[in-house]
């Protein structure tokens, strides 16, 4: 297996994805065409770090998230947890499932409305037999709720009795129940009101500090991802366009798509209005028929004939990686 481009020598990653491909075919919506959701993604996640993934809708970031927790089986490629493959005979081994958890986008639809908060948070404890008896379970649920900033005496209530931000905390408590090494969060704050987003973002940062859990943080909000991530991957149509330390990807973007994305992001500073911005033409192409060569060449202002033919791979540019024939190299 070729080493992942961002591997750190001497450090075994907790989670490694290599050559991941996922294609959905035949469904009613695809009109006969196969949706190439993820088409060749390699990445590594190290203990205690946050890897942010940004990209627009349809870029495959949610499919990637589902493969990273074993909810979706890749067509090609492999995910390993501390060197052990996810998909052994008969599915993901139980102890790997326990160590890799997920937090979903919509806290209302990802919590069973007919279960109490106690039952929701206790379910993983029961499944993985992590509590001796009902009393120990209750205690542990109380601990977990306290950890995410909820009062344990509300554990007999139902999800609808909580606000959006509190529901997301319940989802986080459930993910923490099994003492995971990795939590994959798919748009964990985008359903929340702005005034509540910051609370949940801060909670993730605090949990990482205190528990040392590694996070994969998937979102479309560039500023939120920058804020929480040590490293960032930028996805476009199923592939990574750029990957590297957050400061470098945001501060010295090498891929034209990253530049356009950063330039297009609305900035809450009216004084900066009228600054020169990169305006991309058109919408992202459909993942049913991604363009040949570089997937971004149809919207790229740097595109040359070569880009339509030859697919660029992730290559080192300065301290990080970009998949572009004309990547900006920091001097």
């Amino acid at each position: 297996m070729p080493p992942s481009p961002d591997s750190v020598p001497g450090r075994e990653p907790v989670l490694r994805a290599s050559g991941l491909h996922k294609t959905y075919r035949g469904g009613m919506l695809s009109r006969g065409g196969a949706v190439r959701a993820v088409a060749g993604v390699d990445l590594e996640l190290h203990a205690g770090e946050t890897l942010g993934i940004v990209g627009e809708s349809g870029c495959g970031k949610s499919t990637l998230a589902r493969m990273l927790v074993g909810l979706e089986r890749p067509d090609q490629g492999e995910v390993t947890f501390r060197g052990r493959p996810f998909f052994a005979r008969g599915g993901v081994p139980r102890d790997i499932r326990r160590r890799v958890q997920m937090v979903f986008q919509d806290p209302l639809t990802s919590l069973n409305p007919r279960m109490t908060v106690h039952d929701i948070v206790a379910e993983p404890l029961r499944v993985h037999r992590l509590a001796r008896d009902a009393r120990a379970m209750r205690e542990r649920v109380g601990e977990l709720l306290t950890l995410v900033g909820l009062s344990p005496d509300r554990m007999n209530r139902f999800p609808h009795e909580f606000s959006g931000g509190q529901r997301q905390r319940i989802g986080i408590a459930r993910a923490l129940a099994t003492e995971p090494d990795v939590i994959v969060c798919d748009e964990p704050v985008s359903a929340l009101d702005m005034s509540v987003q910051a609370q949940v973002v801060n909670l993730f940062a605090e949990l990482q500090r205190t528990l040392g859990v590694a996070l994969v943080f998937i979102a479309h909000d560039l500023a939120v991802v920058r804020h929480v991530s040590h490293r960032v991957g930028v996805m476009y149509l199923g592939r990574l366009a750029e990957l590297g330390p957050a400061g470098q990807v945001y501060g010295a973007p090498a891929h034209p798509y990253t530049m356009a994305l950063l330039s297009a992001a609305p900035v809450p500073k009216p004084r900066l209005r009228g600054r020169s911005r990169i305006m991309l033409a058109g919408d992202p192409p459909s993942p049913v028929a991604p363009p040949p060569g570089c997937r971004f060449h149809t919207r790229c202002w740097k595109a040359a004939p070569r880009c339509a033919e030859e697919e660029p791979v992730l290559e080192a540019v300065g301290g990080h990686y970009a998949a572009c024939h004309f990547a900006e190299r920091a001097s």
């Binding site: 940062a205 500073k269 058109g282």
Partner: protein
């Protein structure tokens, strides 16, 4: 005498009645928009911003909903004195609405040309042929490539960004005085969002239309609006010129929102989160609605609701806070 403002709303109140309970969603909102101006109405979910937009359009006329207003004028015409028939005439011509979700706002079984053309046929009584020609013109105006060919396509054949452009085309087709854009880019990707915001801004400049932009996104409001009005729990808590309001917020809620969103250029380790959650419209606290979450709240705030009053600083700034002047002094000191 100067031109009357395009839109003037005084003391708008909207109350929903559900299961015998009265839920006041909008509790006394004043709005004024001048010609060619963009006003952003900024607020979180449940703040009443979309209800305000619908009430102005006259789309809340249904059982269980009570809309009251002291004055409502559109370009000098008194909306309250009008018959339902007359208001209906104005909708789509003098004031138009751009919805958030373009796919559900367009009729899936009519071609785009038919839907845009309908505006010209109904409001101007032109022929089918002429309506079609003008539809193609509108599609070209909003940047749809090969408009003459695509005019016969159906909504599902367009991408999300293109559909939003079609809605914008329909909104400006009859050169309205006012466009109300209700979260026009929330369903769109960042790169497409930038295109649509630029399009709305360009049309405003070229056609001199006033725009009421409803949004929850501080960034979006900052990019295109001249003035910003911040809503919280059914009321406007602060309004002013965009640059001044962002630089020197005069309401603790505005200041807290600005401090709670991460800055792309200056990643700090901790965001200053606002404690608690916005109140439910059914149970708004007495006194200032923001007091329970406010770090400046005093006893006065918990008992007496501060009215929206003009501030001495800035140009045409208003704030509803007992501590506004003290906040501005502290920021300037």
């Amino acid at each position: 005498m100067s031109e009357p403002p395009v839109l003037e709303i005084r003391d708008l109140r909207v109350t929903f009645t559900a299961q015998g309970r009265e839920i006041p969603a909008v509790r006394g909102v004043d709005l004024t928009i001048e010609r060619g101006q963009t006003l952003a109405l900024l607020g979180e979910s449940g703040s009443g911003k979309s209800v305000t937009a619908k009430a102005i359009m006259g789309l809340l006329d249904r059982p269980g909903t009570q809309v009251r207003c002291a004055a409502a004028r559109l370009g000098g015409r008194d909306l309250l004195a009008m018959s339902e028939e007359e208001r209906r005439e104005l909708r789509g011509s003098a004031m138009t609405l751009v919805f958030q979700d373009a796919l559900s706002a367009l009729n899936p079984v009519l071609s785009i040309g038919d839907q845009i053309g309908e505006l010209f046929r109904v409001h101007l009584g032109v022929s089918r042929k002429e309506a079609r020609a003008r539809s193609i013109e509108m599609l070209t105006l909003v940047g749809i490539p090969a408009a003459a060919k695509r005019v016969d396509d159906y909504p599902h054949q367009f991408s999300g960004g293109m559909r939003q452009r079609i809605l914008v085309a329909m909104a400006v087709a009859l050169e309205p005085d006012l466009i109300i854009a209700d979260e026009p880019t929330t369903a769109l990707d960042v790169t497409v969002q930038a295109q649509i915001l630029e399009l709305i801004d360009r049309l405003r400049r070229e056609l001199g239309t006033a725009v009421l932009l409803i949004t929850h996104d501080l960034g979006v409001a900052a990019e295109v609006s001249d003035r910003v009005a911040v809503m919280y729990a059914g009321r406007i808590v602060e309004s002013g010129e965009a640059g001044e309001l962002y630089d020197l917020p005069a309401h603790p809620y505005t200041a807290a929102l600005l401090a709670a969103i991460p800055d792309l250029d200056a990643p700090a380790s901790e965001l200053r989160a606002i404690p608690g959650a916005p109140p439910s419209p059914a149970q708004v606290p007495p006194g200032c609605s923001f007091a329970p979450r406010c770090d400046r709240a005093s006893e006065l705030c918990r008992t007496t609701r501060p009215p929206l009053v003009p501030l001495t600083a800035g140009s045409g700034r208003y704030a509803a806070c007992h501590h506004s002047e003290e906040m501005l002094d502290a920021a300037l000191a």
